[in-house]
Structures are given as structure tokens and as C-alpha cells.
């Protein structure tokens, strides 16, 4: 069954505990998480004529973009994480109830504003460590 994206919940905390309503990020309009694994080539002379592979380290990156909110304490957590180089814990519940908490470092913050638009904020994230399934 498909899931409408507007039910998605995005939370940010400074620790890896289950988020609650006050931890929900405000202003976010788009959120993506890309989970990857390294592919290790295990092909050798003893094998056949087709490459063989194994899976290596896991990794993930993410992006959250939307409206810049001057007074939002959750966006402030992301900015503080960038400035201090400390982990932020981003929980994405794709159907509003289940998902993962990702330990993330904030690598880039982009802000912008054109005279006829809203002020925008864009946060780029890279995972450091293992995610936690929620709930």
C-alpha cells in the first residue's frame, strides 16, 4: 500500500532516545534519507565468468529542506550540531508511526531568500554510527 508523504514525521534530538511531540521539526517540506552499502568485489580465479560481490560497510546521508524558522528550537539543534560538530539524532517515521532514528552529522546548511519568496533552509546530513529502528 502506498503512503502519502504528508503523514511523515521528522524529529530531531540531541540524544538517541525515542522522540516525542516537542521534538518534531517544524518548517520541513522535504526530507530524504539515502542508505547505502559498500560493494566489495570478491571475484577470483577459482570462480566462473561472472563477478561475485559481498556487502561492506553501511552508510547513509540525508537532506531536510523547507522554511527557515528563526525561533524554532529544533532547527537550532541542527545549527548547533553543525557548529559544534556533534551528533544530532534524526528520526524519520515514513508512515507517521514507524521508521528509524539516524545518528547524523550536519555537514552543510544552506539558507536563501529572494524578495518575493520565503526564507529557506536546507540541511545536509551524513550518518555516523548505526541507526535505531522505531518504535
Amino acid at each position: 500500500m502506498s503512503n502519502v508523504a504528508h503523514l511523515r514525521k521528522v524529529y530531531v534530538r540531541t540524544d538517541n532516545t525515542a522522540p516525542t511531540a516537542p521534538d518534531e521539526l517544524d518548517g520541513a517540506k522535504d526530507c530524504s534519507i539515502d542508505r547505502t552499502r559498500d560493494t566489495l568485489d570478491t571475484t577470483n580465479f577459482k570462480g566462473g565468468d561472472t563477478r561475485t560481490k559481498a556487502m561492506g560497510l553501511k552508510d547513509a546521508s540525508g537532506n531536510i529542506s523547507g522554511d527557515w524558522l528563526p525561533a524554532d528550537t529544533i532547527q537550532t539543534i541542527l545549527r548547533t550540531g553543525y557548529e559544534n560538530g556533534t551528533l544530532v539524532y534524526v528520526t524519520v517515521l515514513n508512515d507517521g508511526t514507524t521508521g528509524f532514528t539516524y545518528p547524523m552529522l550536519v555537514t552543510d546548511i544552506k539558507e536563501g531568500g529572494a524578495v518575493a519568496d520565503l526564507v529557506s533552509a536546507d540541511f545536509s546530513l551524513t550518518q555516523s554510527g548505526a541507526p535505531t529502528a522505531r518504535p
Partner: protein
């Protein structure tokens, strides 16, 4: 609440102005003190700051110059942070120079990206089979779209703030974005200017900048 960009303003640096014995207000824990006058909080990093502490406030003792090794200075927002607790009664005053900020005219859009280098520190054993990382150096890039000529003097006073001159001379430029009651300040260099304008359009200048920290203080930062 979302913020319309047209309510904001982009500013640049004015002429460095000396001030003496400016009082401060304690922010937190007898260690952080901020200059009272908002207009004087952007400190000129090219001018040494003198910090004085009166340990007993209105008591019998007087002000004593604090050793620079005992505190750090946030030049972007005028905050002195002491390494040690100064005591509840202590009052702090500061002398130095501040930079007034001047509205840039004709700005139609702006953007900046604050980035950090990602350093992979994954080692054996990797818990959960996942990479671990640390953040390295900070940097900044950004741009402005301006429909005024870059030869325009933005300073309404006796000084001058001409972006063309700043670009040609390669001098440090203080970029300030102020919107929604919050400011972002950065020391930047103007990397490039691009003049555009077809026969049926306004003349437009695109200016790109890159972060360039000064010898003292942070290169850029958001207002708390």
C-alpha cells in the same frame, strides 16, 4: 512560523569606531557577558579588545584588566566568555572598536551555504557495520543578486562602502543577514562579480563570496 524574505535586510560593514568602558550584561553562569549596546556588538577583529572586571561590583574594589588568556571573545556578537566563574557580583566592561552595519541597497536575493568537511574515522570493529565520521573544517560560500550598480556608495555617512572597491581591493567584508529578528554574520571575500542586463531588463549584478576567517574570532556564526 515561516518568514517572508522581503522582511529581511542584507548589510555590510561601516567604518571602525572606537569605544571605551562599555558595560555588559551577564548571559549565563557568571562566565558569559555581552555588550549592552546592540550597535556595538560587532567588534572589529583588527583592534585589540580590553576587558576589565570589577569582582565585587558596586563594592570597594575597582576594575582590573583581565588577562587575555583568561577569556575568549565572540567578535561577531560582542560576547566575552571567561574560562573561570567571575562570581555573582562581578561586573564586566569592554573597550575596543566596533563596526556599524550598513544596509546594502538593491539586494533582490541572497543565499549562503555553511559547510564542513567530513572525515571518515571508521575503525575495527565497526558497530553495526556502519561508518563513523567526524566533522572537519568549516567553510562558507554564498551569493547576492543586486540591481544597483556595484560602484554605488552604500554608506550614507562620511565613510564609504562600495562593493566594486571591496572586490578590487580584496579586503575582508562583513556579510550580515538579518531577518525574523535573527542575524547571521560572516567574514567573507568577494570572489566574483557578474554584470547582467538585457535591453528589456534591469541591470543586475551577481556577487559571489567565500568565507575568510579573520585572525581573531570566528569566521561566521548565527545569533543565538
Amino acid at each position: 512560523m515561516s518568514t517572508a524574505a522581503h522582511t529581511g535586510v542584507i548589510r555590510g560593514p561601516g567604518t571602525s569606531t572606537a569605544f571605551t568602558l562599555e558595560p555588559t550584561t551577564k548571559l549565563t553562569a557568571n562566565t558569559r557577558y555581552q555588550l549592552n549596546t546592540d550597535a556595538k556588538r560587532l567588534l572589529d577583529p583588527a583592534v585589540a579588545v580590553v576587558v576589565e572586571v570589577d569582582a565585587d561590583g558596586a563594592g570597594a574594589g575597582g576594575y582590573v584588566v583581565a588577562a587575555p588568556a583568561t577569556y575568549t571573545v565572540d567578535y561577531l556578537y560582542g560576547i566575552v566568555t571567561f574560562l573561570a566563574d567571575q562570581g555573582a557580583a562581578a561586573v564586566v566592561r569592554v573597550s575596543g572598536s566596533y563596526l556599524p552595519v550598513i544596509d546594502l541597497l538593491g539586494v533582490t536575493s541572497w543565499d549562503f551555504t555553511a559547510s564542513r568537511t567530513v572525515l571518515d574515522d571508521t575503525s575495527l570493529p565497526a558497530p553495526g557495520g556502519c561508518r563513523t565520521k567526524k566533522l572537519g573544517l568549516k567553510d562558507l560560500t554564498g551569493s547576492l543578486a543586486i540591481n544597483e550598480l556595484l560602484t554605488l556608495d552604500n554608506d550614507p555617512g562620511a565613510g564609504s562602502l562600495i562593493l566594486q572597491t571591496v572586490h578590487e581591493n580584496g579586503t575582508p567584508f562583513l556579510f550580515e543577514r538579518s531577518v525574523g529578528g535573527k542575524r547571521f554574520r560572516a567574514w567573507v571575500l568577494l570572489e566574483s562579480t557578474k554584470l547582467e542586463g538585457g535591453v528589456d531588463a534591469l541591470v543586475n549584478n551577481n556577487v559571489t563570496f567565500t568565507g575568510a576567517a579573520r585572525a581573531a574570532g570566528a569566521g561566521f556564526g548565527w545569533e543565538a
